[in-house]
Every structure is written in C-alpha cells, then in structure tokens.
C-alpha cells in the first residue's frame, strides 16, 4: 500500500509542478543576486543570503531559508490536505476501502507519502539550489559558521533554559540575556572563537523589552545574525553534514503541518478546506509566537522552533532548540495522527 501511495504521489503532475515551483523561487533570487551582486546587508533579508556571494555552496541553506516560512508549508499543507479528502471527493476512497485496504493502513500509507513528499521537496530545493549557487557564485570557501549562540532568554522549552548571552562570543553586547545566568543546562557550550565578531542584532536589540527578550525576537535576531558570517572555512564534508542535518530538521519541522492537514483531511471531504485549515493553524501559531502575552504557550506551538535549523551552522552545533523542535514536532505528529485514526476508522464514508 505504501508503494501504491508513493506511485500515486509521484505519478501526479501536480507533485512535480509544486516541487518545480519551490525550486524556482531560490533560482530567481539567485539570478538577481548574481547579476547585481547586491547582497542584503547583514541582519536583513533571509538568512545566509549575504554569505552566498562568497560561496555558492552555501546557497542550499539560503534557498531553504527562502522557502521555509511560506512556500514549503503551503506545499505540504496542499499535499497532506489532499491525501484523504482528495480521494473522498473524487470517490476513489470508497473503492480503495472495498478493495479492501484497511483504514489504519491507508492512513499510515498517506502519512508515508506526505513524508516522502517533504523529503523529495527539501532534497530537490537543496540540490537544485546547490547547482544554481555554484554555477552563479562559484564554489568559494564556505564560511558558514555562525559565531553567535542565539540570544534567547525567557521561557524556553522547559523553563530552565536561559541560554545566557555570555556564551555567545559574537553576541550583541546589549543582549538582554536575562541576567546572564549561564545555567547549568548548557554548560558545555564553549564560547566560540569569534574573530570577526560582527555587530549584529542591533536593529532588534533596542526594541526588545530591556529585561526579557521575547523568544521569537531573539530567534529572529539569531536568524539575522546568520547573515553575517565569519570563521574558518568549512570542509566540504563538514558543510555537507551540516546541510544534511538542516535538511532533516526542516523535513521534520514540516511534519507537524503535514499531520495537521492530514487530520483535517479525514474530517472534511474538501481538500481545500483541509489545506486552508492547516494554514490557518500555522498562521495562528505564527501570530502567537510573536505575542508576548502568549508566552506561556509558545514553546508548544508548531512553528516555534522552525528556525532552529540555523543552529546546525553554528560552531559548535547548538542542539538545545533543535532537540526541543524535534520533540514538539513528534508530539504534533503522534497526537494528530491518533486523532486522525480515531476519526477515520469510525467514520461513515458516504462520499
């Protein structure tokens, strides 16, 4: 059944059009960058964009940063929202079920096909943008290592984490790091050598509340900080590993969206409804993440740790948020798939 679902997915023209469009956006950006050589100033624009002029081999990371906020989740919501509702709307669901295909098995196969789509899409974006990047910018020495540990304080995943700004060598000096209590939670973080410690984060630093920085803001600032890179060149193997880690993390980040859309897909017979529902959930999550008043729930929001993939490009790789992100996504997938299963296996298929 898994194979059948994969065949359905990849024999569908729409799948390839979607993947193609997702690859196209970074290519367009790359063409503009290459023809004008005007990089966004550090601290602005998507992560990594200013670094790619130095080395095209960093472009996959920049491309992922470009598609991650909107295009990738939209594509995943479309595909996952269509899984069950699309079959139901087209009438093929009843023929599958009387074949017979068990409802649980069908649901699992659909989940697998969503995962396969995300993997294929992320791989296609990374692969195509690597080719584009190296072609347009050359494969100069990638200096991808971000020298700053993200300046996050306030309620972290377990509440204990105030990743003290003190550990960030290249941190903006004004980082309101909540007392700088270099908590025992992450004592192992050495201050990375920051020769070129750039002045980063200044745009955001003043706007934050002086005592406690909203996590999102810190996250955004951390993302910004990525735009200014320095450090020792990465070996190709090191870069490849970091990139693979980031790709894997982004893939998993998308599974939460996929699970929401898949669950809604079992609820409604309209794939559009399921897709829009999932996107509405994401937008709600994004709004709440930026809302100080919602700080009590932010650690559990599906988009909260989306940008943590950037931590793969720090030296050393900063794992705390990555770990938290994985746990959050896993929780969403498990809970929503259980809900989808409970709903789908007891539902009248009257469509």
């Amino acid at each position: 059944m898994m194979v059948v679902e994969l065949r359905k997915l990849f024999r569908r023209p729409r799948t390839w059009v979607t993947i193609g469009l997702l690859c196209l956006l970074p290519a367009i950006v790359a063409v503009f960058l290459a023809s004008t050589r005007i990089a966004p100033p550090p601290g602005q624009g998507a992560a990594f964009l200013s670094a790619v002029l130095e080395s095209g081999s960093l472009y996959p990371a920049a491309a992922l940063a470009l598609v991650l906020p909107i295009f990738l989740p939209v594509a995943v919501a479309v595909i996952a929202g269509d899984t069950v509702a699309g079959e139901s709307g087209a009438g093929t669901l009843r023929y599958l079920l009387v074949r017979p295909v068990g409802r649980t098995k069908l649901l699992l196969a659909k989940l697998v096909s969503v995962v396969a789509f995300v993997v294929a899409t992320v791989a296609a974006v990374a692969g195509s943008s690597y080719v584009v990047g190296v072609t347009l910018f050359g494969a100069g020495d990638p200096v991808a290592v971000v020298n700053a540990i993200p300046q996050i304080s306030g309620p972290g995943g377990g509440g204990s984490s105030s990743s003290a700004g003190g550990s960030g060598g290249g941190s903006a000096a004004s980082a309101p790091s909540a007392g700088g209590s270099a908590s025992a939670a992450d004592p192992a973080e050495p201050a990375p050598a920051a020769p070129g410690a750039p002045s980063i984060g200044t745009p955001g630093a003043d706007t934050g509340s002086p005592t406690q920085l909203d996590p999102t803001e810190a996250r955004e600032r951390a993302a910004d900080s990525v735009a200014s890179l320095s450090g020792d060149p990465l070996s190709p193997a090191d870069l490849a590993l970091r990139l693979l880690g980031a790709m894997a993390y982004i893939t998993i980040s998308m599974l939460g969206v996929g699970a929401i859309a898949l669950f809604l897909s079992t609820v409604t017979a309209s794939s559009l409804g399921a897709t829009l529902g999932a996107l509405a959930a994401l937008i709600t999550s994004q709004v709440l993440v930026t809302l100080d008043a919602a700080a009590s729930v932010t650690p559990y929001l599906p988009t909260r740790y989306w940008l943590a993939w950037i931590d793969f490009f720090r030296d050393p790789i900063f794992l705390r948020d990555i770990r938290a992100g994985l746990i959050v996504q896993a929780a969403y997938v498990v809970i929503l798939m259980l809900a989808a299963w409970a709903n789908f296996t007891t539902k009248d298929v009257a469509q």
């Binding site: 059948v4 065949r7 569908r12 009438g91 009843r94 009387v98 074949r99 017979p100 009248d348 009257a350």
Partner: protein, 350 residues
C-alpha cells in the same frame, strides 16, 4: 420518479394493467422475513449470501434505512429497487462496511459486517454510486493501482487487469487518461474494477448509469453470464426495466423500508384477466356485458373471462358477435405497477 424505459414483459398495446392485492404489503406494515433463518444460519441448500436483521441507519432523526431484513441467496440475481433517496445507496454502503449501521446485524458471505468485513471484501466486487478513478491516469493504470492496493499477489496482475478490461469491452482502449473517458467508458471501467478479483458476489449500485442502450444490453448479458458462472449479483437500481430484464429476485425499498421481497416471477404473476385490443371497442363492450372490468385510456378493454373459458373462449364469443380483434393477451402485473402502488413518490420530489 422512475425511469420506465422500455417494457420487456411483452404486454404492450398500452394496456393499463391493474394489480391484485395479494403478496404486496403497504409500507406501514412490518415486513415478515421471507426466509427467516437464525443468524448464523445452519448450512442449507441455497445459503444466504447477504442477510440483514433489523438493519437501521439514522442520520439525525431521519432513518435512511429503517429496520430492513434483506435475504439474498447464493446464485440470485437480486434487484434492489426503489425511488431516488429511498436508502438504496446507504444500504449498499453498509453491506460493504463503508457506512456503519445505527442498529441491526449484517452477514455477508457468512461473515459479520463490519466486524469481519476484511474477510469478505476480497470476495466481493463492488460499484458504489458511480465509478471513480484517477483522471490523470489511463484506465489500465487505474486498475493496476487498484489491484496493487488489494491483498492479491503481484503475480498475474497484468493478466488480471487485461482480462477485466476485456470483459467489460475496454480491451482495445489506448493509453489516454480517464478524464477524457465518456461516462459510459468510466462506468465500464468501474465494472472492470469490480471484476478484478473474480468475486463471488457482485454488489452494484446503478451499474448502467450513463450507458447507451447497446451498452446496457452488453452489461446485462455480462452480468447474466457471470451469474451463470456462479457469481451472485446484487444490483440496486431505480430503473424498473433494468431489474425486470435482469433479476430473478426483487426487493423493493421505499423511504428506507423494505416493502417487498419476492421472486420476480411471483411479482409479475398473471391476474387471470385478459386485455383485449380491438378497433370495435363499443361493440365489444356491448357483447361482453358484465365481463368487462375496465377500459384503458388507450382504448383497450380489460375483461374477466368466464370461468374455465379463458382467452380462447372469449375470442370465439367476440368473433361471433362481429368484433374484430387486434390482440388478446393475458394480463400480468408488471413490476412497475407493483412498485408504483406500494411506494410513495421519490424523496427528491419537493
């Protein structure tokens, strides 16, 4: 309400056929089981392939299927007839485990549905409420996917698909995608899907929708052929002619209730009266006297012949009276008469 189509009972001439009242229940009366057997039934000569007990499906307060006891025996060609919206499709979906009953029991091929539905579904070929396929794939690719979805082995898939396509008359179809198919072709493809697993039981919901008369006849012949090979056919339709031409047993459903379940021959029995078509209607009426029961709007006369005399004696009497006779035939109750009389208007009528 019903699409009458052509009549196949040979009792043409526009004679209106009245019905005798026996054997037909009004919708309000409870329906006694025709061949009530205990549920799990002991092995009998013609085991029941489908049996339901008190099957009910409610949507809110409305009962789509209301306390239905259905009995389909092995080898039957069972016609499940009813106006639109009378619960036929809901019934079919419950038999297949797609819709869960509110109350009642279902046994199909000896297994309880929906609990053991996965043991029976591989032996069932089904078409529910129109065909469905992936429009961007060819018919063959669709069947291939369908076959691969099921529990059957990979080996012989190409042959199975080819045979099914051949059987429904799509053997020569090319690789064009299903979205370019006509409705008739889609219908055939749906039927091919139902035949893929060489089922013991075919459950078909309105299988000839969208087919032209030629196609309808072809499908009918195919179903009869399959039935002779041992497949039990359960067919739901609102097309009287289709059921009359194909089925050996008929169940009539009205507003969710099964109001009749009998062999078709028993439904279409003779009334003992004779329908007379004549150009000399008035003279005939005079000659017949009290034997004349009724006159149809088309001018035919309905006559009760004297006991033991039959149509032949009637003919002699009429000819003796100088009445010319175009046709003289025994009156039968048509399925249509029965259905129209015992069912209300379709629920799609406002």
């Amino acid at each position: 309400m019903t699409n009458l189509g052509e009549r196949s009972d040979g009792n043409g001439g526009g004679a209106r056929r009245s019905t005798a009242g026996t054997g037909v229940r009004t919708p309000s009366e409870p329906v006694p089981a025709q061949r009530a057997r205990p549920l799990p039934g002991p092995p009998v000569a013609t085991p029941l392939v489908i049996e339901t007990r008190g099957l009910t499906k409610r949507y809110g307060t409305r009962a789509a299927v209301d306390d239905v006891d259905l009995h389909v025996a092995e080898g039957d060609r069972y016609g499940f007839l009813g106006p639109n919206g009378s619960g036929k499709t809901t019934m079919v979906r419950m038999l297949l485990g797609l819709v869960f009953a509110t109350r009642g029991e279902i046994r199909v091929l000896g297994h309880e549905v929906p609990r053991e539905v996965h043991q029976v579904l591989p032996r069932i070929g089904a078409m529910v409420e129109g065909p469905a396929a992936y429009g961007h794939l060819s018919g063959r690719a669709n069947l291939d996917l369908l076959d691969a979805s099921g529990p059957g082995p990979r080996a012989g898939r190409r042959r199975r698909v080819g045979e099914a396509m051949e059987r429904v008359g799509l053997g020569g179809v090319d690789r064009r995608p299903v979205r370019t198919y006509s409705l008739g072709m889609r219908q055939r493809l749906g039927l091919a899907g139902a035949l893929l697993s060489r089922p013991d039981l075919l459950i078909l919901d309105e299988p000839t929708n969208g087919l032209d008369p030629h196609g309808i006849r072809e499908i009918r012949e195919l179903l009869i052929e399959l039935n002779h090979e041992g497949t039990t056919v359960f067919l739901s339709s609102h097309l009287l002619a289709e059921i009359e031409a194909l089925c050996t047993r008929v169940g009539v459903v009205d507003r969710g209730r099964l109001v009749l379940e009998e062999p078709l021959d028993a439904v279409r029995r003779r009334t003992g009266r004779v329908v007379l078509t004549t150009p000399d209607a008035d003279r005939a009426a005079a000659a017949l006297g009290g034997a004349l029961v009724d006159r149809t709007p088309e001018g035919a006369l309905i006559v009760t012949p004297a006991d033991g005399d039959g149509a032949a004696g009637l003919a002699r009497h009429l000819v003796g009276a100088g009445v010319r006779i175009d046709a003289l035939e025994p009156e039968t109750v048509s399925l249509e008469d029965v259905v129209v009389r015992i069912t209300g208007p379709g629920s799609d009528r406002a």
